[in-house]
């Protein structure tokens, strides 16, 4: 939706402008950073720690770029429950299933706990998370995320304390729940230790830069991107049921990788195409018979756009055989939508032959559809139904409700 609204957005920006002079707002820039990363490295399994209101997950759901498993973890189950339904598939996801599979899971749990089902991921994001942990917890966080889970990559973002003097009106930390805010040196010290301990390499970046000579304080949000140095052994491991975390929400998106959905979508597309060819043929026949002036010989195929590229066999005409209309499979195959769904005619034929909704000729080259629409006048059927007594017929005694009420002749 893109309403031409001015009020709410403007208000929002105004309040943001007072605290952070960034446009787009800093939190958006952080999300965008992750989205850009996903776009470049195309991880299949992504876990977001401290997902809170699931904003990042919701964005990644749209900017999927091949993500197949999207997991959110937060310690606060209430906030998860409140927002989890925003991650449900949309109606359009059912109407037009995507090609690749996607499962979204939400867990209640702590990043300092070891949970077997969080291992084997390609990317772990911890956006503005560690500063909410006590310093002692940061150590176990490092151990759990890098040592135990050992994902392919980790993105950690945290405030840069050196930037704080530039934030107007700020005393102390940026949020009352922050346990610490690191300088660049502190952050990098921690990060390098992690790399040494667990076999990762890191590079530093950030979002939100000050202007002019203030640039030297660094980014407002500092970001460390860790890459694992050794080859992973777990990514193809079987998914486990959670044993420490609590599963709050799980949804499997409809996709063409589900065989039933694939079959249904393909057959719908084929029948749509076939029915249209049939209809087209029928209306041409009708026109021919009503314009008897010039009778067309069996309709020579007028050039059929998609038909040309496939070669000689594509110009096969639709024809009638007894009470049926025969649509050559090659004609259906020429539909770009069908092609997109199905790699080869051979596969198309195989898929259709096992489907009960499609009638095909024995050799699998022709789809068979009924010629005539069912007649609509089958309703005037005279039928004798045996009479069953339901209830007595009103007795013949004349009733007079007025008299019963004792108010007859009132006016």
């Amino acid at each position: 939706m893109c309403l031409m609204r001015t009020h709410s957005r403007a208000d929002l920006t105004k309040t943001l402008a007072m605290t952070t002079p960034f446009s787009p707002p800093l939190y958006m820039q952080r999300y965008q950073f992750v989205i850009d990363y996903v776009k470049t490295y195309r991880p299949k399994k992504v876990i977001d720690f401290g997902c809170a209101e699931c904003c990042l997950l919701k964005k990644l759901k749209f900017h999927r770029n091949g993500i197949q498993l999207l997991v959110g973890v937060d310690i606060n189950s209430v906030v998860l429950l409140k927002r989890m339904h925003t991650l449900a598939p949309l109606i359009s996801d059912y109407l037009q299933p995507s090609d690749g599979p996607l499962t979204i899971e939400l867990y209640q749990g702590s990043v300092t706990e070891r949970e077997p089902c969080t291992r084997g991921f390609d990317l772990v994001t911890c956006v503005e998370l560690i500063e909410h942990l006590e310093l002692v917890e940061v150590a176990s966080f490092s151990e759990v995320v890098f040592g135990y889970m050992s994902p392919g990559a980790v993105i950690v973002s945290t405030p840069n304390a050196e930037f704080n003097p530039l934030l107007p009106g700020l005393r102390g930390f940026r949020n009352y729940d922050h346990k610490f805010e690191w300088t660049r040196a502190e952050f990098q010290t921690w990060a390098h230790k992690v790399c040494r301990d667990y076999g990762y390499s890191v590079h530093f970046t950030g979002v939100g830069e000050a202007v002019g000579h203030w640039r030297e304080v660094g980014f407002c949000t500092q970001i460390a991107v860790f890459q694992r140095n050794f080859h992973d052994t777990m990514s193809n491991a079987e998914r486990l049921e959670p044993s420490v975390y609590r599963l709050m929400y799980r949804v499997v998106y409809p996709s063409l990788s589900d065989n039933n959905i694939y079959q249904r979508t393909l057959v719908n597309e084929v029948l749509y195409e076939a029915q249209h060819l049939r209809q087209e043929w029928l209306s041409r026949m009708n026109m021919d018979s009503s314009n008897n002036a010039h009778f067309c010989a069996p309709p020579l195929m007028d050039v059929f756009q998609h038909g040309l590229e496939g070669g000689t066999r594509d110009c096969q005409p639709v024809y009638q055989q007894g009470g049926t209309i025969c649509v050559p499979l090659a004609r259906v195959w020429s539909s770009p939508r069908v092609r997109a769904l199905c790699g080869s005619v051979q596969r198309l034929r195989e898929e259709l032959q096992v489907d009960s909704r499609v009638r095909m000729s024995a050799d699998g080259t022709v789809l068979i559809l009924p010629a005539a629409a069912d007649d609509e006048d089958d309703e005037e059927v005279e039928e004798e139904e045996n009479v069953k007594a339901v209830s007595g017929v009103a007795n013949n005694v004349e009733e007079d409700w007025d008299r019963e009420l004792g108010c007859y002749g009132n006016v």
Binding site: R5, S8, R9, V78, I91, L95, V270, E376, S391, A394
Partner: protein, 858 residues
């Protein structure tokens, strides 16, 4: 009866179709009613005063309902929320004669099952409502919340708070609790928590809470919400030819019914389309060429409801922005962004066709927190799915047949579906968990109850009386060969036909002649007039040939295209008031069916001219029955139409009618007041006296509009009657008739689950305690499930026993002259519907008053 007429008389108006998934009711209904709890009257208070139950509601569970409570507030503030269940309209207590009992006695008992399940709550269940006050006052809602919940040990873990009102499952020790909190700046704040209400299980807020809880249950069962109902996306069926996808689902409501709180659930289906507006535009352009495309596109698309790809919102297409493409920009925040970039960055969606024009929707919904609507929305066709059926599809017999084969469920299938939902609820662990947290559960079977089958009526026709087969509720055969009550002879009448249909016209004429004799209709030969198959020439033919003495005009139409039909009706109902009968040639082209069709046409022609067909015994004298219905034209700028019909004689065989076009901002009854007075004058003229009883059957009352009928329409009706004279005080009853309801009843006939027989009355258990209401199954259906009709007597000074009210209503269902059988609603409602439909669909003007005494609209 022509095919068109049949389709119409039994179908609904186009405008009344449920528009589309999620479509908001476009008309803002009556002012908001406070949905907030005032302690409910009478019988309910008793339970509310019971001791509080120690219940452990988790914070999570409580949170689920807070959204709903916010809705309550919205209802209070801006009036955006409608009470669809008309709860809080207490009409029964004002009617002395039904205070004790509103049940009838006639007929034989029948065992039924209804699509209701009892909600069982833990004993002593209640919600406690507190008002929270801050000293000094706090602005921020988040801060208020944070300050309050520093006292979780006092308030308990389970709570919901919207900034002012706090709901707790447990009662605090004191009625007024004073708490002290401290802000982060060290400011001291005094918080006063005062008990304002104790909500018993059946209070409106609790009922609302149950409904919210149940919606959550449906979500746990992976159902998708579209509009007000929930559908199952995992089990669709498709009609590939038109890219239709149909989702099965359920309509559910939890309400306080006669003796218990119950869940009423019925099967519903949603039609979706896996075709975008852009796909549609492509194929339309291919069909009609570049030149005609803009016009055709506007005609086809404007008014349709679309569903956007990137969220679940629906919009109505109001216009097409021919000068806009996705490359145009709009203001987002302070920056200009093109639609193309917006969708790419926001949703990762690529626009494949950069030249598509955009769609415009005028959003009526208010902006966030009650701000004015944010202006028109511009939509990209590629990201918009079409929804619902187009008129073209609806006219396509094959699509409708395919649809019906999936959506028209036999009683057995319907019961099975509902039972499957019940077992899903009872088997799903998450659902059970959710329910137990709240101390609630559902009875795991459908409600069993008793109904009564009213005796079938004797049909009186020309001094003879006969009975009909009570199962088919039809007397087409029985009336064959019997003379009608009164017949108009056809001395001067015209038949118009096209050259192609000259033969069918002749055979129709002969057959009419053959069938009219036994009915008692004297028929002279019609003047035959040929017209060219064009609308202008048809109109010219009418203008040249229809004279003042013309009694009847029969027009044979070559196709069932609407324009010619409209043209005939417009001319003959407004400009040159003459009864007319249109027949589509196809209907009379089959020789074997011609006798049946001609019989129906003859009957119809006779009533249109003022003849009477049959009657039933009406044991009340000086009675005038009034029927009111309206027709809402959804197309932009069209007005609503109200129709009123009123009986003129004892046998209910003559009807006076008026049809009015509603002005903007006017209630339909304002326009109909004059009509009622005219009806009373007509009654006086026919009977030399005014009626001593008036019974108004009001149809076309939407969900949530009952209050306005009670508060506004009834007084208006009384006022209107008063104008006939100061001492004229007839007894008045006003009955609200509702066809579209989700209650269903199943009978067991010969060991099989079947529809209840015609005449089944239900007036216990599933009725509402605060109303004088009942259900009647009056019609018989050959396929699918019969839909009962709900009657709600909202005002009654007649003193009539409920039994008589029910039977009178049923008798009136026998009196619709366009159907030789029992219909779904009392004849006056069906007549009013027919009239409003004719005016709304075809005439668009008030009909000529010379026709007022005739059933010309049949």
């Amino acid at each position: 009866m022509t095919g068109r007429a049949r389709a119409r008389s039994r179908g609904r108006g186009r405008g009344q179709e449920p528009a589309a998934p999620g479509a908001q009711p476009s008309v803002q209904q009556e002012a908001a009613k406070p949905v907030m709890p005032t302690p409910p009257e009478g019988q309910l208070v008793g339970r509310g005063r019971q001791k509080p139950a120690p219940g452990a509601m988790s914070e999570e569970a409580m949170l689920q309902i807070s959204a709903g409570f916010q809705q309550v507030k919205i209802g209070e503030r801006g009036g955006r929320r409608r009470d669809f269940h008309d709860s809080g309209v207490h009409t029964r207590q004002l009617m002395e004669h039904v205070k004790e009992s509103k049940t009838g006695v006639s007929g034989t008992a029948i065992e039924l099952r209804a699509n209701f399940m009892r909600l069982l709550s833990r004993p002593l269940w209640a919600l406690y409502q507190y008002h929270v006050d801050y000293k000094p006052p706090m602005e921020s809602r988040r801060l208020r919340s944070a300050l309050l919940f520093q006292h979780e040990e006092t308030l308990g873990k389970a709570h919901t708070f919207d900034g002012a009102i706090l709901f707790l499952p447990n009662k605090l020790h004191n009625t007024e609790t004073v708490l002290c909190s401290e802000t982060r700046n060290g400011e001291k704040v005094e918080i006063t928590v005062t008990l304002t209400n104790e909500l018993p299980p059946s209070s409106p807020v609790c009922l609302q809470f149950y409904n919210i809880l149940f919606r959550r249950i449906l979500r746990i069962l992976n159902m998708q919400q579209i509009g007000r109902h929930y559908y199952n996306p995992d089990d669709p069926f498709n009609i590939p030819q038109h890219r239709l996808t149909i989702w099965p689902g359920f309509v559910t409501t939890i309400l306080q019914y006669e003796s218990s709180i119950m869940l009423c659930t019925d099967v519903s289906h949603k039609v979706l389309r896996s075709e975008t507006v852009l796909d549609f535009m492509y194929s339309l352009r291919q069909q009609c060429g570049d030149q005609r495309f803009p016009e055709a596109c506007t005609k086809e698309l404007v008014g349709l409801i679309i569903l956007t790809k990137y969220n679940n919102k629906t919009y109505r297409i109001d216009d097409i922005a021919w000068d806009h493409t996705p490359n145009n920009t709009f203001k987002k925040g302070d920056t200009e962004i093109s639609f193309k970039n917006y969708f790419k960055t926001q949703y990762g969606l690529d626009i494949t066709d950069g030249n598509q024009v955009l769609l415009v929707s005028h959003v009526k919904r208010l902006g966030p927190s009650g701000r004015p609507p944010p202006g028109p929305a511009m939509l990209v066709p590629e990201f918009c799915y079409l929804t619902g059926l187009t008129d073209k599809m609806r006219a396509d017999f094959n699509i409708m047949k395919d649809l019906a084969s999936h959506t028209r469920l036999s009683p057995e299938q319907r019961e099975t579906r509902i039972n499957r939902l019940i077992s899903n609820i009872n088997r799903n662990a998450d659902v059970q968990n959710e329910l137990t947290t709240w101390g609630l559960s559902f009875e795991n079977r459908l409600l069993s109850m008793n109904g009564r089958v009213l005796p079938s009526e004797r049909i009186i026709q020309g001094g003879r009386a006969y009975e009909y087969n009570p199962w088919t509720a039809d007397w087409t055969k029985e009336m064959r060969g019997l003379p009608l009550i009164s017949c108009m002879s056809l001395d001067n009448w015209l038949m118009f036909y096209t050259r192609r249909n000259a033969d069918v016209a002749q055979s129709l004429l002969q057959t009419l002649n053959k069938v009219s004799g036994p009915m008692g209709i004297r028929m002279q030969r019609a003047i035959m007039i040929e017209y060219e198959d064009r609308q202008e020439s048809l109109l010219r033919a009418l203008q040249q040939n229809v004279a003042r003495e013309t009694q009847m005009v029969v027009v044979i139409l070559p196709t069932n295209r609407k324009d010619k039909y409209d043209c005939v009706k417009k001319y003959l109902c407004v400009d040159c008031p003459t009864p007319s009968q249109c027949v589509v040639s196809r209907t009379i082209s089959k020789p074997q069916a011609l006798m049946t069709v001609a019989t129906k046409i003859a009957l119809q022609m006779n009533c249109k001219m003022g003849g009477e067909l049959w009657s039933v015994e009406i044991p009340l004298r000086q009675l005038m029955i009034v029927g009111i219905d309206c027709y809402h034209d959804t197309a932009a700028g069209k007005r609503s139409i109200g129709a009123l019909v009123a009986s003129l004689n004892q046998g209910m065989s003559r009807w006076f009618s008026k049809c009015v076009l509603q002005n903007r901002g006017q209630e339909i009854i304002d326009a109909l007041k004059g009509s009622l007075q005219a009806a009373l004058k007509a009654y006086l003229k026919y009977n030399n006296c005014l009626p001593s009883r008036i019974i108004v059957f009001r149809d076309g009352v939407g969900d949530g509009m009952l209050q306005s009928v009670v508060d506004y329409e009834v007084p208006q009706i009384m006022q209107s009657i008063k104008t006939m004279g100061q001492d004229y005080e007839p007894k008045l009853s006003v009955v609200v008739v509702k066809k579209r309801i989700s209650s269903r009843f199943f009978a067991r006939i010969d060991g099989k689950i079947a529809n209840p027989p015609p005449g089944t009355v239900i007036d216990t258990e599933v009725t509402r305690p605060e109303w004088y209401d009942f259900f009647i199954v009056s019609q018989a259906v050959r396929f699918g499930c019969v839909a009962p009709t709900h009657y709600n007597v909202v005002f009654d000074s007649s003193g009539l026993k409920p039994d008589h009210m029910q039977r009178l209503t049923y008798k009136l269902c026998h009196m619709y002259y366009n159907w030789q059988g029992i219909v779904r609603v009392p004849a006056p409602c069906q007549y009013a519907h027919k009239l409003a439909f004719l005016v709304g669909q075809s005439i668009h003007k008030e009909p000529n008053m010379n026709l007022d005494d005739f059933l010309y609209y049949l």
